[in-house]
């Protein structure tokens, strides 16, 4: 299953909120695991999305040592990123509630 346009950014932000600063590999694994491997991210999808968020100022990047002592680029949520995440989460929930209400099985036959 491919990632829907616009939702990948939300997933990345949420991942960074839950796990704290993380490298690209970590983000990809986390998203794949959370989706129970229904989503797979190749680099050509992930890294442009990360770069875009960085350009927009929602995340910040920094080179650090990884857990197994490898140099890796770590991404962390910024204050603006936190705000955007909160707003988008709210909007998504509203949309989801709305769609759920529409798609709910009919209670009684006409």
């Amino acid at each position: 299953m491919d990632v829907q346009q616009g939702t990948l950014a939300l997933m990345i932000l949420r991942t960074l909120e839950v796990l704290g600063p993380l490298h690209g590999y970590g983000v990809a694994r986390r998203i794949e695991e959370t989706s129970r491997h229904r989503l797979t991210l190749n680099y050509g999808t992930l890294y442009p999305a990360l770069l875009k968020l960085e350009q927009e100022g929602f995340i910040a990047a920094e080179w650090r040592q990884s857990e197994n002592n490898r140099r890796a680029k770590f991404y962390a949520l910024t204050a603006a990123g936190r705000k955007r995440l909160a707003r988008e989460t709210r909007e998504w929930q509203q949309t989801a509630d709305l769609i759920a209400a529409f798609l709910a099985p009919r209670r009684e036959a006409p």
Binding site: Y25, P48, E56, S66, K73
Partner: protein
């Protein structure tokens, strides 16, 4: 905010590409390593783990490319690459590039130059504050010289009180004054203005102050404001001029300021003064007489008022005036008033000529663009192979289109650069042309607006050129490539387009040439017009001696001013006669005469006239005639033939009987089929009371031939000559005939004039040939400009035809080879190619002649002595175009017939 930030980050990314690339490589490698390590940890063999990780990545190169697209400005990077590529391609075909750039430069240059004139003279806002709210009022009546008779002070007063939508009405009276310098005297064209003039006009001083209402009326000191041009020309831009006293017509006048550069209408002027400088202008006669019209009127719309409102209100007042003052508005003369925006009035003489030139330049642009389009199309065919290869390597249609666009932009912008250089030279020539038609010629500049026009033109051309090239639909490439096609020739459509363009070129050239032909014939006709006098070795000098300002200022006796002028006149007449007789005595001079104005110059004075024993029919316009004076020698000196009766003699003087000589137009109009000699006429009308001229009967003693006083293209007007000695020496001109080399006598004659009247300005010295040329030369310049556009169009179109046929021949080499090997001889092949070109040519000719048939009607106003659909011109132009066209078809036809069938078929 977020978008700006992202854009800035991208811009930064564009410039820090290399370092970011290293970073990215490391980041992606780290990801791959970690993933590999993870698979190994789960128990895979290192090789398999690595392969698995690579597979999951989706390709490192592709990922890097995707990130690069997000990082910098991918379009900018590829545009830079496209420009580099375009420059490389164009360098590889220098002949193509040179021809295209040159063709475009000519087209763009012509358009830029003409547009700069159109913009400066017709379109640009006036330098006046809120210049679009200024209105020009024009009063006219039927009859010669009555197209713009200006206004009297009482009329202006009525408008001032009765038209609320005009917020301010300024008076401006054209006048002449002699400025006495330290060692010379010059005649100034000035405007006498009311104190509100500059406020209404919305003009500011660059130095000192302007006149204001406190400078109005009698009993104030006379003051002068210099126009910017005159300040530079006469005083070299001296900033110390303010406060200086100058001598004008013998009076001391203070210079109070210098005006900002601004256009004047109807004529260019040197300075503006308050009315008091001319006693006549503050006299009761001027201020109270409704028929005494010598004031121009410019008004400013009141806030919120519209031109339509002003027109309606002015018309209402005017019809009331006409019924209240019958004697000032003779019903037969159809007095009328027009309210036009000042900017339109300034442009009225230039408008038709300039739009004609703009249209001619646009035609040249169309032809150049068609040529370049053809060259591009032909080159496009040769490049199809290249485009297929590029498509095979992954370039989409949009990408190829952009590549073409960039290439064409490089071409048109190069053309624009050279075009602007051409325009810079052309504009200088055009300013001198525009100066004959418009007071705004000084405002012509190659400014931002003009360059913007040039840029827009170039970009539009590039777009056009890029989109006529046919590229296949997205998605069809694959089938082309898999089919192993080397070319994509959808060339039937393309050839049809090329031929269409050639037909259009021929047609447009014919229209342009027809215009050029008509204007050239106009110019020739005009120079052939008989001016009415034997030109040979004659020159004339304008030497006004009477200084009408000065003298008793605004006295209680309105006739005091006249008496003063009459006294001056006695002295002036004596000086004129001394000048005449001394110049006559110069060796080489065969005759010298005196008159009110030089021959072939319009008289400034016209009066109503009546014939003894004849009453006007009811409703008939009061006839008018030009007032001129002549000494007995004037006609012989000028070479004006006497048709009937006698010349003036030295006995026709002050005390003797009043006599006149009338011209042929006058005789034909008032005495059709009769002998006018011995009949009597008299001056009449409301204006006469204001002049020192009597309304007594005057006996006609002779009839002179007509002269073209209003320019060679104007019909001769009725004129009445009075003896120089019997009339106030208004104007004042010497006419000198020599047995040879008249220009060589100018210096000697000038010395005599200066010696006898040191304080008199010599306004102009002209040979009769020069006077004649003044009315021909603007037409000549017109004809030359349009003709050079026409010739340019012809050349470009010829190159176009030859090019398209040559291309067709080279595309049909194999076919021609087959035909020849099957027995077609050279003549047949030649005829085949000629026929191909001939059809295009004939189509273009038909369309062109039809187009010219409509287009030339629009320039009727610029023609003289030739009909807009003059058959001679049309036939001549069609023949010329046909001849050139056939000649250019011949070259490719010859080449086709020399094709060697063996070689042609082998190389196929």
């Amino acid at each position: 905010m977020r978008h700006i930030r992202a854009a800035l980050a991208r811009l930064a990314g564009f410039f820090t590409k290399d370092r970011a690339d290293d970073d990215l490589k490391e980041e992606l490698q780290a990801h791959l390593d970690m993933e590999t390590a993870e698979y190994i940890r789960r128990g895979m063999a290192p090789d398999a783990a690595r392969r698995r990780a690579l597979l999951a990545s989706g390709g490192l190169t592709q990922a890097a490319e995707a990130v690069r697209d997000q990082r910098g400005l991918p379009w900018l990077e590829s545009v830079v690459a496209d420009i580099r590529y375009a420059l490389r391609t164009l360098r590889r075909s220098p002949a193509f590039t040179a021809v295209v750039v040159l063709t475009l430069a000519l087209g763009i240059g012509a358009n830029t130059a003409i547009f700069s004139v159109v913009h400066g003279v017709l379109l640009k806002p006036l330098p006046n504050r809120d210049g679009d709210r200024l209105l020009y009022l024009r009063q006219s009546a039927d009859g010669p010289g009555q197209a713009n008779i200006s206004f009297s002070v009482p009329e202006v007063h009525d408008f001032r009180t009765g038209v609320p939508s005009l917020g301010g009405i300024a008076e401006y009276s054209p006048w002449n004054l002699t400025l006495q310098g330290d060692n010379d005297a010059v005649r100034l064209d000035v405007g006498l203005v009311t104190g509100n003039y500059f406020d209404v006009m919305g003009l500011a001083p660059v130095l000192g102050r302007l006149t204001r209402p406190s400078d109005d009326g009698a009993g104030v000191p006379p003051v002068m404001v210099l126009t910017h041009d005159f300040w530079i020309k006469r005083f070299g831009g001296d900033r110390g001029i303010v406060g200086r006293q100058v001598k004008l017509d013998g009076q001391s006048v203070t210079v109070i300021g210098v005006l900002q550069p601004a256009p004047f209408f109807p004529d260019r002027i040197d300075a503006l003064l308050n009315m008091v400088v001319s006693p006549h202008h503050v006299s009761a006669m001027m201020v109270q007489n409704r028929s005494h019209r010598m004031t121009e009127v410019v008004a400013r719309l009141a806030p919120g008022a519209t031109v339509a409102q002003a027109r309606a209100e002015v018309a209402a007042i005017y019809s009331r005036l006409q019924s209240d003052y019958k004697d000032a508005y003779n019903p037969g003369s159809h007095y009328r008033i027009a309210v036009t925006p000042f900017k339109e009035a300034l442009g009225e003489r230039a408008r038709l000529t300039l739009w004609l030139l703009m249209a001619a330049a646009a035609f040249v642009m169309i032809i150049s663009a068609a040529n370049v389009a053809n060259l591009t199309l032909m080159r496009g065919v040769r490049r199809e192979h290249e485009l297929v290869v590029r498509a095979a390597l992954g370039a989409g249609v949009a990408r190829l289109r952009r590549l073409l666009l960039v290439e064409n932009l490089v071409l048109t912008l190069l053309g624009a650069v050279f075009g602007v250089v051409i325009a810079l030279v052309g504009v200088r020539l055009l300013v001198s042309l525009a100066a004959r038609y418009s007071p705004r010629a000084g405002e012509i500049r190659l400014d931002g607006v003009v360059l913007g026009f040039t840029l827009a033109l170039s970009v539009a051309l590039a777009l056009l050129l890029s989109y006529i090239a046919s590229l296949p639909q997205e998605g069809t490439f694959a089938s082309w490539i898999s089919a192993g096609v080397r070319r994509m020739s959808g060339s039937l459509r393309k050839q049809r387009l090329q031929r269409g363009l050639v037909v259009a070129q021929v047609a447009v050239s014919v229209v342009l040439l027809a215009g050029a032909g008509l204007l050239t014939r106009t110019m020739i006709r005009l120079s052939e017009v008989d001016s009415g006098l034997r030109a040979e070795e004659v020159f004339a000098m304008d030497v006004p001696l009477l200084q009408l300002s000065g003298g008793p200022s605004g006295g209680t006796d309105p006739m005091a001013w006249f008496r003063h002028i009459m006294e001056l006149d006695v002295a002036a007449k004596e000086q004129y006669e001394r000048m005449r007789s001394e110049i006559r005595a110069l060796p080489g001079v065969t005759e010298a005469g005196l008159g009110s104005s030089i021959p072939l110059a319009a008289s400034t004075l016209t009066f109503d006239v009546k014939v003894e024993g004849e009453a006007l029919a009811v409703g008939e316009a009061v006839p008018r005639a030009d007032v001129r004076t002549a000494s007995p020698e004037y006609f012989r000196a000028s070479g004006i033939p006497l048709l009937q009766g006698r010349e003036f003699t030295s006995t026709d003087r002050g005390g003797s009987g009043l006599v006149v000589i009338v011209n042929k137009t006058f005789a034909d109009k008032f005495f059709p089929g009769e002998d006018p000699v011995g009949k009597r006429i008299a001056w009449t009308g409301p204006l006469l009371k204001l002049s020192p001229i009597s309304g007594d009967w005057r006996t006609i003693v002779g009839v002179s031939g007509n002269t073209r006083d209003g320019g060679l293209d104007a019909e001769p007007r009725a004129s009445v000559f009075m003896p120089f000695a019997q009339m106030l020496s208004i104007g004042g001109a010497l006419v000198i005939r020599a047995d040879s080399n008249a220009p060589g006598l100018v210096a000697a004659a000038t010395r005599i004039v200066h010696r006898i009247a040191p304080a008199a300005p010599i306004v102009r010295v002209l040979t009769v040939a020069q006077i004649k040329d003044q009315s021909v030369s603007p037409r000549r310049l017109n004809a030359e400009l349009v003709s050079s556009f026409g010739i340019l169009a012809l050349i470009i179109a010829a190159v176009g035809i030859a090019g398209v046929l040559a291309f067709s021949v080279s595309a049909r080499t194999t076919e021609i080879g087959i035909r020849m090997s099957l027995g077609a001889d050279r003549g047949q092949v030649q005829r085949m190619i000629l026929r191909e070109g001939g059809v295009l040519l004939a189509l273009g000719l038909v369309l062109g002649v039809a187009g010219a048939f409509f287009a030339t009607g629009l320039v009727r106003g610029l023609l003289y002595g030739v009909a807009p659909r003059d058959p001679t011109t049309f036939v001549g132009v069609a023949l010329l175009m046909a001849a050139i066209g056939i000649l250019t078809c011949w070259i490719p036809a010859l080449r086709a017939s020399r094709i060697d069938p063996a070689i042609a078929m082998r190389s196929a």
